[in-house]
């Protein structure tokens, strides 16, 4: 990050280091976390609308039912499952397990598959 407030130069890093599965999945874990945090606003809106009455809830549900709302929900739900599955991967690392590079790559692909599968599952359940 070239945001050094003291004005000293920084060596190039993001500009030169080739993205790897490890680094990409890691920053996405942070990214999905931030997206989820922002999304809590939407969750609280829905809860407050439900607590306010039928008209309030209907307006909020109308938004979430619109194409934009569905898109937002799709993004938020994928962010949730990505962050959840990768979070579990992190918990394994915290326990000292699966830290070898081949295991990290394998669990990474597994996690991506699981997050997509879970998102699809939930949306199928919702649409039936």
């Amino acid at each position: 990050m070239a945001m050094d407030t003291r004005g000293r130069p920084l060596s190039p890093h993001l500009q030169v280091y080739r993205p790897q599965l490890t680094s990409v999945l890691s920053i996405l874990h942070r990214g999905t976390g931030v997206v989820l945090s922002l999304g809590t606003l939407g969750l609280v809106c829905w809860l407050l609308a439900a607590a306010s009455g039928p008209q309030a809830l209907a307006s909020v549900q109308a938004f979430y039912g619109s194409w934009l709302g569905q898109l937002v929900l799709l993004g938020w739900s994928y962010a949730l499952f990505y962050h959840l599955c990768n979070g579990i991967r992190h918990l394994f690392w915290d326990a000292g397990r699966a830290l070898d590079i081949d295991e990290v790559y394998r669990s990474g692909w597994l996690m991506l598959g699981a997050s997509v599968a879970l998102t699809l599952c939930v949306w199928l359940i919702a649409l039936i």
């Binding site: 809860l47 407050l48 607590a51 939930v122 359940i125």
Partner: protein, 127 residues
């Protein structure tokens, strides 16, 4: 037996201050959130999201649902502010900006958490 000196304890435990606590609470809230968020999303997708007001409110107001929802919201907002704290610490430079950002962020989380829990309890007590 702690190797920390009394002065170190008074000053706030070294460079990472309460880092270990932060690390552990992040993991603890994460563990709680695995079943809680799966339950929440499954419930929403299964029957709540498309339901009318009466059904939504009946679900939220069901005692065990209200209780678990409150726990879900508390864990969620706690975990979230721990995570965003680290993001701010990493990317916001300058002590003043960093402090202001952190305080505002934590207050915002507290506000949203209170609002969410209030909504759940309001519904629960009106059922």
């Amino acid at each position: 037996m702690s190797l920390r000196s009394p002065l170190g304890t008074a000053r706030g435990l070294g460079s990472a201050k309460s880092g270990t606590h932060h690390w552990w609470m992040q993991r603890l809230s994460a563990i709680a959130l695995v079943p809680l968020s799966l339950w929440f999303v499954a419930s929403l997708a299964g029957h709540v999201a498309a339901a009318d007001h009466a059904a939504v409110v009946a679900w939220i107001g069901t005692p065990w649902v209200s209780i678990i929802l409150v726990l879900f919201l508390a864990s969620l907002f706690y975990h979230s502010q721990l995570g965003v704290q680290v993001v701010i610490e990493d990317y916001v430079h300058g002590e003043a900006s960093k402090l202001v950002s952190l305080v505002l962020m934590k207050f915002a989380h507290l506000l949203l958490a209170t609002a969410g829990i209030f909504a759940v309890l309001k519904i629960a007590f009106s059922q």
